[in-house]
Amino acid sequence: MAREIEAAEAEAGGRPGTDRAGRRSPGFPYPDPPQAPDYELCVHCGLCLDVCPTYLERGEELHSPRGRVFLIRQAAEGRLPLDAGLYEAVFQCLDCRACETACPSGVPVGRLIEAARGQVVRAMPSRGFRRFVEATLLRGLIPHPRRLDRAAALLRLYQRSGLARAARALRLTKLLPPPLRKLERALPAVRRSVRRRYPEALPALRPSAAARAEAAVAAAPRSGSEARPPVSLAAAASAPAAPPAFRPEFKRPKRVGVFTGCVMDVWYADVNEATVRVLRENGYDVVIPKDQRCCGALHVHAGDRETGKALARANLEAFLSRDVDAIVVNAAGCGAALKEYGHLLAEDPERERAEAFAEKVYDVSEFLVRFGFRPPTGRVEATVTYHEACHLAHAQGIREAPRALLRSIPGLRLVEMPEADHCCGSAGIYNLTHPEMAEALLRRKVANVPAEAEAVAMGNPGCMLQIASGLLEAGRRTEVVHTVALLDRAYRAETHGKEEAP
């Protein structure tokens, strides 16, 4: 990996202190700095303040999106050194992108923060626990598929052999740093990785609903107008049973690559299993490239852009060489990162491939609603609330699709929670590096989960682990579940012919 990174750095080169438009940013001496056209979009209106989780907790301008963007600009123009002040400002940020939803000028705050982190971590390398987390998790473990598999196996052994119970009984878990201790308790039973266990290609189980609908349309007599309405989320949400209509130029994917992710595949392999089943159930051939790697989101968030880029290049190759029509991902954080490969590799020779790759990426809920899915007939009798993962709602703008999937499930009652799109505090490794803020946000999130909800659905593994640990801590028995896993349950209830409790 280290070699790949060095080679990449040498190749990409970059022009220190210069942005892509060739303008000087004297304060940022390293390649790939925050872009002036991005931060100059900010007019300092402040409409982002009241949606920013860290500003709401602390009330400090320094911890608001507007404040951060302003400081990035000051640093770029050489009025603020790359020191602890800027470090604190850009690393307190959860990178939740709620501000991007609120911003009327379209300032890409997430992109600016990530690029600024890339500058400050080079000027002042991390220390202490953060450094430990970054060295072990981000660089030592996650980029290496085989090590990750071995770690998962160890974790499974730990859980299955009774060691976990023993460790807890002997209070050995007290030796863990507090944030890890809480997450350890919330860890689900680790299953075996889908990426390793499943064959690379899995055919569709039946023709897709869309294909059947198209066949029906083709068979029907032509009526007047040729134009058909495009697929719309609203239409799908209001009438999920209706066959979606297609524009002629709209290519319906057939061969779908599944991005398994690292956290998802280690801790929530069952969600990957559900995703594969749901896709095959809906008529898609599934491909799981064995050589896919971590998406690199955690690295880019931590300012380690070069590792992020190396991982991105590996994924370009893994998926584009398989000639898939679409790349489906069930982890919001990974999905957002994959969709942003074009930006990440903007100064890279691979830019065009990265853009082609990014265009194929869909969150699983987005994919199903957009290209059509068969509404299940199996019932899931449960009251469910929905938590909007930041990287789904804010970074990818996907809000209605997951709800449409949930509403399509017979027997399921969807109740909305207040502040559904407010960050839960997980934010990649944020809950490890900023436990105090993460705790405050988690308490707020758990308090917002309605009492009547038997389950809380969401589309991101980090949120799942975080919210599960918060509910456990609060002594609540609400189940944490991935949206697509509920859909899978409903499909399976059809064949079992009986209702399933969540």
Partner: protein, 500 residues
């Protein structure tokens, strides 16, 4: 004062009025004062590191920015009072700040003031649905107050476009208006009582139930732009949510036709809840911004018209409005068919200022008021001003009450353009005053329009204002650089800009 203008010019010319890390920051507070403040509010709520100070250098106005000496985030009236007393005794200037969304620079520490941020004081203390009032802390966000009382069928009427973020305390400071103030009045009509920390740290309660005898001190405070004292608790009036609403969107081929329609609607005796106008440049901006509403690209003006109240009669009222639009040659007019459609139109309108960032690197918002009858004439004159200075001017404004918002678009990187924009803005305000209007409708005077005060008031009138301020703040420590021009300045301003 003049120094500040020089600094502002430098910032514009070189983008460098903000100090570097080593230079030009105001001196740190004396150590004893800093320690005493820390012991009052707690270590983490006293900020003096360079990054934090820089973050408080601007508010919603960015032409003139200066970092404060320190930032304090008190949590209670007692903490505010204790900090203020300390600063008063030490003779150290200070000023209050809410969300920092103000557009006239009212929260900019021009003299390196200590900033007292009220952002942590955001509790709704009491809601009385029967008497329709709420007691709140100043840091409560405007929209959150309305959301919190919606379950009681109530809302807080002032609705500035920044209501997603601005605070109720700031609304009082600026006497904020908003789209629906045409029918419901501005902030001053909705404040019943205030708890105030006076410039020497004394805590007083002003106002009370409607009809409280004595001079209207609450009225004096509302719109005083944080120069008389720091509001730490407010009792505000809540209104019942209207039973029904109708919202229409009308497109016009000429600005004149749209302005005539506005005048005709008002002359017909209709009182819309809101009557908003955008011209072609503004429409281009909002359609390129984050909340496009699908306005056609070739219309010259649009009106967003809303009526609300008792359900019965709303349709008839809207029909009359549509008829007035037709009479004036409207291209098309549409009544919102769903709440989602209405929401889209309003989101599009309310984010209009910031959306100008999408079509121009910089812009300057002006805020003037004119008699309604002069609207077509004034809009023509503003267009001529734009042509004269070679700058595009977008108009987004509360047409119904004649509250104009010309947005002067410029590129701060082009030498001289910021100055031309400022001159164009000042000339637009001059037109407002000439036709019998005012230099501000709702954004306040702050730093930005302090000199335009000279257009509206004679020296004796300004002297009276200074005397009122001095009665409360004899040491001149509280946000002293704002609102009222210093004596003698008006002579220079008039010589340079008015007669010149």
């Amino acid at each position: 004062m003049i120094e500040s203008r020089v600094a502002a010019d430098a910032w514009r010319r070189e983008g460098a009025a903000l100090p570097g890390p080593e230079e030009d920051f105001p001196p740190p507070l004396p150590r004893a004062v800093a320690a005493a403040i820390r012991s009052i509010v707690g270590e983490r709520f006293f900020l003096e590191d360079p990054a934090s100070l820089l973050a408080y250098a601007c508010d919603g106005q960015t032409l003139i920015c200066r970092p404060p000496r320190a930032v304090v985030l008190p949590a209670t009236t007692e903490e505010v009072a204790a900090v203020v007393r300390l600063l008063y005794d030490a003779g150290i200037p200070y000023l209050p700040r809410g969300a920092g969304t103000g557009l006239s620079g009212g929260a900019v520490p021009l003299n390196g003031e200590v900033v007292l941020s009220l952002a942590r004081m955001k509790r709704i203390l009491h809601v009385d649905p029967v008497n329709r009032l709420a007691v709140v802390q100043p840091g409560v966000v405007n929209l959150r107050l309305s959301q919190a009382v919606a379950s009681e069928g109530l809302y807080f009427a002032p609705d500035p476009s920044s209501q997603y973020a601005c605070t109720v305390g700031g609304n009082v400071g600026e006497n904020a208006g908003g789209a629906h103030c045409l029918k419901y009045g501005v902030t001053t009509n909705h404040v019943l009582a205030l708890r105030v920390v006076l410039p020497d740290g004394e805590v007083v309660d002003l106002g009370g139930p409607p009809g409280t005898p004595g001079p209207d001190l609450v009225g004096l405070w509302t719109g005083s732009e944080g120069t008389l004292g720091i509001v730490t608790e407010l009792t505000v009036r809540l209104l019942p949510l209207p039973e029904g609403r109708r919202t229409a969107l009308a497109y016009f081929d000429t600005v004149d036709a749209a302005s005539r329609t506005v005048a005709d609607i008002m002359a017909a005796g209709i009182v819309p809840a809101a009557l908003e106008m955008m011209d072609a440049v503004a429409i281009e901006g909002v359609e390129r911004g984050k909340k496009p509403a699908g306005h056609p690209p070739d219309v010259e003006a649009l009106l967003l018209i809303e009526v609300d109240g008792v359900e019965a009669g709303l349709d008839a009222e809207m029909e009359r409005i549509v008829a007035v639009c037709r009479k004036n040659g409207v291209r098309s007019v549409k009544v919102a068919e769903s709440e989602a459609e209405r929401r889209l139109w309003w989101d599009n309108r309310k984010t209009a200022f910031a959306a100008m960032g999408a079509i121009s690197p910089n812009y300057l918002v002006q805020d003037g008021v004119i008699p309604l009858s002069t609207l077509p004439d004034v809009l023509r004159r503003i267009r001529a001003i734009g042509e004269k200075y070679g700058l595009r001017i977008a108009n987004v404004f509360h047409a119904g009450d004649g509250n104009l918002h010309p947005l002067i678009l410029y590129d701060g990187r082009v030498p001289g353009e910021a100055e031309r924009a400022e001159a164009a803005g000042l000339e637009a305000l001059r037109v407002c005053v000439e036709v019998g209007g005012s230099i501000t409708g709702e954004h306040g005077v702050g730093i930005e329009k302090r000199e335009a005060m000279c257009f509206m008031f004679d020296p004796p009138e300004l002297e009276a204002m200074r005397a009122v301020r001095a009665a409360f703040d004899p040491k001149g420590l509280l946000n002293a650089a704002k609102l009222i021009p210093t004596p003698g300045r008006c002579g220079e301003v008039k010589a340079a800009a008015w007669e010149g």
